[in-house]
Amino acid sequence: MRETTNSKGLVKINLDPVNRIEGHMKIKVLVENGKVVDAYSCGHLFRGFEIILKGRDPRDAQHLTQRVCGVCPTAHAMASARCLDDAFGAVVPPNGRIIRNLIQGANYIQSHILHFYHLAALDYVRGPETAPFIPRTGDDYRLPDAVNDMAVQHYVQALAIRRRAHEMLAIFGAKMPHITTIMPGGVTEKVTPEKVNQFRAILQELTDFIDNVYVPDVFMIAEAYKDYFAIGQGCKNMLAFGVFPLDDDRDPNGQNMMIKRGAYTRGRFTGVDPKKLTEDVKHSWFKDETSGLHPAEGRTEPEPGKPDAYSWIKAPRYDGLPHEVGPLARMWVNKVPEVVNLGEKAFSVMGRHAARAIECKLIAHAMFAWLDQLKPGEPTHMPCSVPQEARGMGLWEAPRGALSHFIEIKDYRIQNYQIVSSTSWNGSPRDDRGQRGPIEEALVGTPVKDPENPIEVVRVVRSFDPCLACAAHLVEVASDRCHTIQVVT
């Protein structure tokens, strides 16, 4: 973290790495008179999934793309499976749909608890006096000792709880991370009364923790740090693709889902038209002439060292505007009362933590009914085959926000595969019009008391639960053009 003060009194702070997030991220902020006046978000890992996927059996995409992210592989499995279902014309039986929902629900619970306790909480709770809990960033710990001790206990308890969520997931997912049972047409695992009961018993344990520990802890911390309801506002545009289909009818608009598709743009609630998705690259290390395309037609030619560029992340935009994705966006566009009743305060660091906890509770409770709908002995999978030529799109929600996969199949092989994932949205750099990405925008105005320990900055960044593990811009050098995939989950 380097600080330099120039002649105008601007202090520059580089944070690299930003820890307790997934993957490799750098944040740069400029501070003037104790406030952030400008911010840059930078993704620092490039792997190359698209070039790896090209030419492979389309069914492999669903397994390979999970490795984009070890924290939310289920979300990639699901976006990819839906993308393949779409391309293959696959029919998923009710048991298959419900098991997929249960697998995804289990990982929402795991991910949200992991994020709050093990990634975010150490910004508010003083951890034990041993590595990796020291050294710390500053000393703004406000909880009374007894409460702080209890929160540390909950940190430890949450380690076991999130593990239990993965065990619950594995009942139908075989293993986690990187499940092997989801495939186009459903899932391979069967429904038995024993599995349903085993799942229900763990779900009850998790729900007890969510209701009695996680949600109260979030509101306890929100109370002690209530100034953070006014910090980290962001772009106030919200986007959600929807998750958890509740029936087996075709649902092109994502309305038959527990968490529905929707947007909140320029202060108005609207539907989502996937045609309005674009990705800009003016400030990313890709050639300018590839900017502004729809992701399904995306082209990217890397240009490391390009002037004015500062990230491997591209800048996805909806209707030309940056949009925040994630629990706050989902709860806001679904008009969940506990969140919309916060009004303006919802667009904040604590608003995001609160929305995440409320969402976790809603999902966990909904899962009991899904378990009751499973029919032991009935099929979980309908066989389907790889088409010679097809296209497919899978819109889904990772715990961290809107996720989309796109496939083009030619001669039974992957011709092109594209992913735009949650942190591409939230962690994006500026677009061609110079509009900051949501995290950058949320940082502007943040007070910074001690530039040596900019805890306020990392609190804002972590409220988005960024996941850079998968920052991958995927380059396919074809004869006449290059495609890209950018994956930041």
């Binding site: 307790r20 075989a174 990187h178």
Partner: protein
Amino acid sequence: MRRISRREFLRICTGATAGIGLLTALEPTIVNTLAQAAEGKPPVIWLQGSGCSGCSVSLLNTVSPSIEKVLLDIISLKYHNTLMASTGAKAYNFLAEMADKYAGQFVLVVEGGISTAAGGAYCYIAETEDEREISMLEALKHFGSKAAAVVAAGSCASFGGIPGAAPNPTGVVGVWEIIKDRPVVNIGCCPMHPDDFLGTLVYMLKYDDIPELDEYNRPKMFFPDIIHVGCPRCGYFARGIFAKNPGDEGCLAFVGCKGMVARARCHQRQWNNGTNWCIAAGAPCQACSEPTFPDECSPLYGRYRVSD
């Protein structure tokens, strides 16, 4: 406290205790021998390269010892990007300081492959105070040279894994292709299994030695034989009953199962606290334990092609 011999350690590790946390029997020994003086906990540094953090998540899924025991009683985890409290140059400075202080003593754990293309520029892990970007390649060479030993956690760090799959756009290789003057122990599987990892780490810390390795530097005690020999669907294979689709009854060999080449103990230890595993759930084994994963294991639903 009961002493435990190496022979016994190996017996426990390789015991066919399906569904029971592998290290349950070892736990009292581990905690007692390693959690002595406050300063006595062995230092461990964990770096992440071109990977997905899935092996870190898998580590969190350990049951016995529990992760809190691991973190608070067994090791002193000096640096881990996803878990540690600090951020920025302060975190990196701490890493450098710890690596110097414990030079020749700490175990370096690497998660994710090592991107070698473009001088390492596809994966930066930190920036120094004078604004110099540190690539994973540079960090591995630098900190690897100070480590007592290196553990490559998971498929990517061991063999390149999926980021290293053809045509390997960012030149990802396994750690052992970079570190030549230190022992490198490879823990295969995608992700690594926490029992395989912690069992190896505990062995190394307890005996100050490397366990016996196979030709791919995997500990033989955890990668003893192919899954096929212990597969519960082996009876179907013997009777020639083959599944037509994944999920069907029968041997999964014709729908992609690579259990014939996967050297791992999934059929014994399973995953997620013995909850389930791929073949039991009707999903063909992908042989994610092998250096050939994923290229020679693809198509994942296709029959295994013997390449010789």
